[in-house]
């Protein structure tokens, strides 16, 4: 029994009026429930310890879910059994103010009665728990996000009878299973699946076993080798939304384990309030494994009531997006059509491009100038930086009125993105998708022109987590350092040697 709860009950007993005493008891229980499931909203009825009407209503607005909570001051097994029978249609939670297994007046045949009660409560999907059971998960959740998830699942869909000891066993088994799932050890995972399905209703057990399976598969385990579960299938957006809403305090390592098989498209379908701390940690932890077709920047002032934190990840218009300073960058998971409409913009002056690149860690391998309905492109055949090429500089200087319509940038770790300045869009060529981190690191400095402090914040925001991916000078500097690295092909704007191209929009991939 948590010390806070003991003190709260003592305080309740000190109240001079009955109403105040009941109010204090309900508030003490509310603290216990919220310590286990912080996302819950608790409402009181005017009833106390009634056989028909609950004392409290637990609600989760984001899930359109509610569960009735009946308070029972004593843990009389016979009375609880009657409660289970009569309250079964509600599938409620029954909270006993005294621990079920530590009753002072041990009744004759109590063990058998306890077994019968547990069986009946399990089949009626009613969860009976005392203060020590709640303590078991409320305390353990502080150090383990998995236990946090388990505690919340119990409040929402627990069944059977939980004591401090049984909850302790369940949390140990569950934590062990999540650890062992990383190395695909079957036995503890199977034991956990069995325990979870015995202790939770189908929906909550399904969620946890799907998450367990996501960790299993995320670490290379095969679906076939995962223990048999009642609820199959990959982690759904609903599961992930639930995880992110309920586990605001989970560390990045947890999100990395869960996120292995999550796609950017799934992220775009999440139902999350902005700002979401979980989403920040999730994307940061999976920045290199998430992929996207491209991104598009549009201007957007901070809206009334919107967080002013920037940059930050959010879900907007069905896309994963980065909220910047007066701009927002939407990421297309698979196809350019997923992006919001482009703003009508202008090509970028060559000098401005060089300025933006100079401040960024970007390698430009191709630029395409445009003037009227004519275009000139200049590129490195070996995908090295070209911006300091003298020939290119000369062309840009000599042909007045030319602006850079498009540029191709190389991404650290492979891949390239075509950047179109007039639409402030960067897309992977043909059907390729790009790592979200690499794409954003390469494209955003060119498309947003951040101030110094903003650029530093963006760098930190998009920094790869693995230290081995960090480098001191940056890929562009490395490339520029190589003599003769860029072999530019200069195409004259006119004449027989020149290759004149009609200007097309960036083609969306198939």
């Amino acid at each position: 029994m948590r010390t806070e709860f003991v003190h709260a009950l003592q305080e309740a007993n000190d109240q001079t009026t009955i109403d105040a005493r009941i109010e204090h008891i309900k508030r003490a229980v509310t603290h216990e429930v919220k310590a286990t499931d912080p996302a819950v909203t608790v409402r009181f009825t005017e009833y106390f310890n009634n056989v028909v009407v609950p004392d409290m209503v637990l609600r989760w607005p984001e899930e359109s879910r509610e569960r009735l909570l009946y308070l029972r001051p004593s843990a009389n097994l016979q009375w609880l059994e009657d409660d289970v029978v009569s309250l079964a249609p509600h599938r409620p939670m029954i909270f006993t103010l005294e621990d079920i297994d530590r009753r002072r007046d041990q009744e004759v045949g109590r063990d058998q009665a306890a077994l019968r009660l547990a069986e009946r409560a399990t089949s009626a999907e009613t969860w009976i728990a005392g203060p020590s059971a709640i303590e078991g998960v409320a305390e353990a959740r502080k150090t383990s996000p998995v236990v946090g998830l388990l505690g919340q699942a119990l409040i929402r869909g627990g069944k059977g009878v939980s004591t401090g000891q049984s909850v302790s066993e369940l949390t140990s088994i569950t934590v062990n299973a999540f650890n062992q799932a990383r190395t695909q050890v079957t036995q503890p995972v199977a034991e956990s699946v069995s325990s979870l399905e015995r202790s939770l209703d189908e929906q909550q057990a399904g969620r946890l076993t799907r998450i367990l399976r996501a960790v299993w598969e995320g670490h290379g385990g095969t679906a076939a080798a995962f223990p048999a579960v009642s609820s199959t299938g990959p982690l759904s957006e609903d599961d992930l939304s639930y995880l992110m809403i309920t586990l605001e305090d989970a560390p990045r390592e947890f999100w990395r384990r869960v996120g292995r098989n999550i796609t950017t498209a799934q992220l775009g379908r999440l139902r999350l309030a902005d700002p979401s701390r979980s989403l920040q940690n999730f994307v940061a932890a999976n920045l290199e494994s998430l992929s996207a077709k491209g991104l598009r920047v549009t201007s957007q002032q901070v809206r009334l009531g919107e967080s002013e934190d920037a940059p930050r990840w959010l879900i907007d218009r069905g896309c994963l997006a980065i909220r910047g300073w007066e701009w927002i960058a939407h990421l297309a998971a698979r196809r350019a059509e997923e992006l919001p409409p482009a703003e009508e913009g202008l090509p970028l002056e060559f000098a401005a491009l060089r300025e933006r690149v100079a401040d960024a860690d970007v390698l430009v391998t191709r630029v395409e100038f445009e003037k009227g309905d004519r275009a000139v492109s200049y590129e490195s055949k070996v995908r090295l930086d070209i911006l300091d090429d003298e020939d290119l500089t000369r062309v840009a200087d000599e042909v007045r009125g030319m602006a850079v319509e498009r540029a191709t940038v190389s991404l650290l770790g492979g891949g390239a993105a075509n950047v179109e300045f007039s639409t402030r869009t960067a897309l992977g060529p043909t059907s390729s998708t790009l790592p979200v981190g690499g794409l954003a690191r390469a494209a955003l400095p060119l498309l947003t022109s951040p101030q110094d402090d903003e650029a530093a914040a963006l760098d930190a925001f998009l920094a790869p987590e693995q230290t081995e991916l960090r480098f001191s000078g940056g890929v562009a500097d490395l490339a520029r350092g190589l003599p003769g690295a860029a072999e530019g092909v200069l195409r004259e704007p006119s004449g027989s040697a020149a290759q004149v191209e009609e200007v097309d929009d960036i083609q969306p991939p198939e």
Binding site: I18, D19, I25, E46, N49, V52, V53, E66, L68, Q78
Partner: protein, 203 residues
């Protein structure tokens, strides 16, 4: 005065207590209730006899709700008996307890409910709740010492508080249940509707 629950009549099984609580609450007119088994609230049912230092408890207590009963407290004595047995003696004790409880904590004594599964002394049923019945019970030799601290009838009579006698008499309920009657409540479906209506209004 805080009292540790002590007296727990052997006649009253937990089953009877639960059935009584359940039947009362199925009326939807009981907002809160607690039994002598309900740890954090059991002491609300406990009182001391004025003399002798012993305590007693009622079986059940609570607060009514709605209309004319709103926010009114009650105390219940439950007798799960199949026939009269020694109910008259228990009832006499009950009246003495009501008198003592009302003098100690009138705020917990808006109603005194005697709830049994058998009637007793039916020929006098109409006078069981009379002031005279309350008075005669208190003056019975079994109650004189613990209520008034005297053995002598006249000395006890002199100490009787007439207003309390009337107050107890007015607050008495005699309820006699039967197994069949326990079923005569709303259907389960209607209770679900009632619960939904109430929980929608939870604050």
């Amino acid at each position: 005065m805080s009292v540790v629950p002590g007296e727990n009549s052997q006649d009253i099984g937990r089953e009877g207590l639960y059935k009584a609580k359940r039947w009362l609450e199925l009326s939807t007119r009981v907002a809160s209730s607690w039994t002598h088994e309900d740890g954090p609230l059991a002491e609300l049912l406990g009182f001391y006899w004025p003399y002798g230092g012993r305590s007693f408890t009622f079986d059940l207590g609570g607060i009514f709700r709605g209309d004319d009963l709103a926010e009114q407290s009650f105390l219940v004595e439950v007798k799960n008996c199949k026939n009269e047995g020694n109910l008259p003696t228990h009832y006499r004790d009950f009246l003495a307890k009501c008198y003592v409880a009302f003098q100690a904590r009138p705020d917990r004594c808006a109603h005194f409910v005697w709830l049994s599964w058998a009637p007793f002394q039916a020929k006098n049923w109409d006078v069981h709740t009379s002031v005279e019945k309350v008075r005669s019970s208190l003056l019975h030799e079994a109650n004189r010492e613990r209520v008034f601290g005297v053995q002598d009838l006249e000395e006890a009579r002199e100490q009787l508080d007439a207003e309390t006698l009337v107050a107890v008499s007015e607050r008495l309920w005699l309820l006699t249940l039967s197994a069949k009657q326990e079923r005569l409540v709303l259907t389960k479906r209607h209770y679900l509707e009632v619960v939904k209506m109430i929980t929608d209004e939870a604050v």
